[in-house]
């Protein structure tokens, strides 16, 4: 037992036992962020806030939701939507939040790619971020099963079928995942468990890891400049705020984050109250019916690009392409051979590559939803899928030949 003096106040009492002052300094007031940033640097906090909204609304929904194929649809659409006070609000927040969180994730990812924030020293930031993307995808998919509408059922059917592995015909694996021959009660309850317990635990763990990976390499800045953080911090603490290249996380960086979050929540609640159909597909307001296949089965918008990489090829080739697409982005820090940490507009061909990637993913997203029976759409889908697959090797080649940008240039 260490020696403890009698504390003069609560803060001191806590500091003796938890080192709250040190924590506050290390995590807030002396956690240094580069000054040369724009609003895209606030997306991490926006994501954290959205995740918070999802957890909060999820807790309220969980109090009334019933994971049973006979009760699930009505517990959501009747109990929560018409009997529980503000149940509709929590559901709309949860539904819109689940969709919009992916928009922010994609903005966050493309920001990272544009500014080269995955390069040497920052690989783990990228990798843990990609792991979060996968965990969020699993969370979104499992959550989509829960209202047990037509789209829940048929999306569940299609996606679990992927595990048969094409010509491998591993139907035993598919049945093992479903707990039944077709999606049913066992299927619903296990996805319920995944959605409310296992995956959220994984996500929370990964968020902590993601924050942790930022600590040593520090957040990137608009020019990709290397900063001597200790020197800059000393300047700041000495009052030379203009000369210093850094700002403390709290309150300076936070004040900007909070402003961006405020603007973001205006958009968020506009969607919650006035434009929610994109996130809560009307088809899913028809109860699940295993005998009635909907005319069009499509995933939510954020899965469309990878769905479109699956669709235009044959059974096996499609699965392989799909597998590659899921993993390809993980390897970005290792495919990019360039020595430069710089924004794309200073990196020559890489800039072209970046915009091609962005446009290609948008084309894939659109084609993933448009009916493939139209030959033009089918052709566009195929071209964009091949383009996506080719972009990996192309990146490797163009960055091998990328010239080193001289310091100060």
């Amino acid at each position: 037992m260490a020696h403890f003096e009698k504390a003069k106040n609560l803060n001191e009492w806590l500091d003796q036992r938890l080192a709250v002052n040190t924590l506050k300094r290390v995590l807030n007031t002396e956690y240094w962020i580069p000054k040369d940033i724009n609003f895209l640097w606030a997306m991490g906090m926006v994501l954290a806030a959205t995740f918070g909204m999802l957890v909060l609304s999820g807790i309220f929904l969980l109090m009334y939701y019933k994971p049973d194929t006979n009760l699930a649809f009505d517990s959501v659409n009747y109990t929560i939507m018409s009997e529980v006070g503000y149940g509709w609000l929590w559901r709309h927040i949860h539904g819109v939040g689940a969709s919009i969180v992916f928009l922010i994730i994609y903005i966050h990812m493309f920001t990272g790619i544009y500014y080269g924030s995955y390069k040497r020293g920052r690989e783990l930031i990228w990798l843990s971020g990609m792991a979060l993307f996968v965990a969020f995808s699993a969370e979104a998919f499992s959550g989509y099963m829960l209202p047990w509408g037509q789209m829940s059922y048929w999306a569940g059917m299609v996606i679990t079928n992927l595990f048969s592995g094409g010509s491998l015909e591993a139907y035993g694996l598919v049945e093992w995942i479903r707990g039944d021959y077709v999606p049913g009660d066992a299927f619903l309850t296990r996805f319920f468990m995944l959605h409310v317990l296992l995956i959220p635990l994984v996500i929370i763990g990964l968020i902590v890891l993601h924050f942790g990976t930022l600590r040593i390499p520090h957040v990137n800045n608009q020019e990709g400049a290397e900063i001597d953080f200790e020197e800059a911090a000393d300047l700041y603490k000495a009052g030379k705020k203009k000369e210093s290249k850094v700002i403390p996380f709290s309150p300076v960086f936070l004040s900007k984050d909070v402003f961006v979050m405020g603007v973001y929540f205006i958009l968020f609640f506009y969607l919650v109250f006035y434009n929610f159909n994109f996130a809560m597909d009307p088809v899913n307001f028809d109860p699940a019916d295993g005998l009635k296949t909907p005319a069009h089965i499509y995933p939510e918008w954020y899965f469309l690009w990878s769905y479109e990489i699956l669709r235009p090829f044959g059974k096996d080739a499609g699965l392989i392409a799909f597998g590659i697409a899921q993993l390809a982005l993980f390897f970005l820090p290792f495919i990019d051979r360039s020595p430069n940490v710089a924004p794309a507009h200073k990196r020559g061909l890489f800039q072209v590559w970046f915009w091609v990637l962005l446009v290609d993913m948008i084309v894939l997203t659109a084609m993933g939803k448009l009916p493939p029976t139209d030959p033009t759409f089918a052709m566009l889908g195929k071209i964009s899928a091949w383009t996506f697959l080719a972009l990996g090797p192309i990146l490797f080649i163009i960055t091998m030949f990328e010239k080193k940008i001289e310091k100060g240039a």
Binding site: K35, N38, F39, L40, D74, N77, Y78, M81, S82, W88, L89, H92, L103, I107, K241, K242, I247, P251, V252, S255, K256, V258, F259, M261, G262, V263, F265, I266, F269, Y270, V272, F273, Y274, N277, F278, P282, V283, F285, D286, P287, A295, H296, W301, L304, L358, I362, T365, A366, K369, L370, P371, D374, F377
Partner: protein, 328 residues
Amino acid sequence: MRELKILAVVVFFSLLTYYLVEPYAHHEMHKKVDAQGNEIKTESQGFKYNGTADIAEAERAGDAARVAAKKAFWADVAEVAKLEGNAAAGEAGFGLCLGCHNGANMNMGGVIPPNLDHAGTIYDKNYLIALIKDPAMASNVDHKYADTMMHPMGSIKSMMSDNQQIADVVAYILENKSGEITPKEAYMEACMRCHAVRYGKLTQLGETPVFKHEKDALAHKIKVIDEQDTVKAYMGKLPPDLSMIIRARSEHFMETFIENPQSQLAGTSMPRVGLNHEGYEKVKAYLTEVGDPSKAKREALGPIVIGFFTLFSILAFLWKKSQWRDLH
């Protein structure tokens, strides 16, 4: 300035993606084309019925005999519509209707004949004339009765064949069965014989009473199942429960489908209901009440929450300005 440029890029690509996967993709998915590949535009006719849509459908199917039959039928309807109906003279004719439309809740030939207490309020005049002349043609489900099956109301053709008599009965309905109607009553008269609404406790037999004893509740349930089986046998499948239909279908779909079910679901056994604009609005109001009860609360709360975050953003902006003042 640079931040605004970046914001413009982000907004542009987000909106582009939204446009492609939402309005554009949904338009492409639900597009209907004729045999020549031309797009068929389905627009609401304002809940007026003159057979234009029915004739166009027959023309697209390339069935000359059907086109002729439809044209002749709707021309007849227009003739009757021009006649001056005498409501007093129509009372006796309406008596014939009451033989079946008697509120006894008895299934006759497939469905329970609907209550006509507000028929003059919720149905269109042309449609009523057409219905008495030939129920299958009026409802645009004549394809169902081409062979041996007869429309359950088919006998009306022989009972009321005189044009003036039809005009009189319709005049009687429009004058005497035209009281105020609640949304729920409109639904019960127009839709309930086929479509249950479990969130509104309606079955094909009407409102489900509260039973004291489980035995009575079960006995009622059996009666409902019997009725549903009869409807199912007649319609081919049990028409869906409409509790959530207001969220499951778009406004445009609801309008055009109720006006002419064939326009959205070719070959369906659902008959045209013949609602006029007021009737449709009432039915829609009931379906909204049941399927989207939070609509009013949502619209009331929206501006407050958005106002809050606007104020929040303004204050946050001022805080940011004060924090960043000394930095540059």
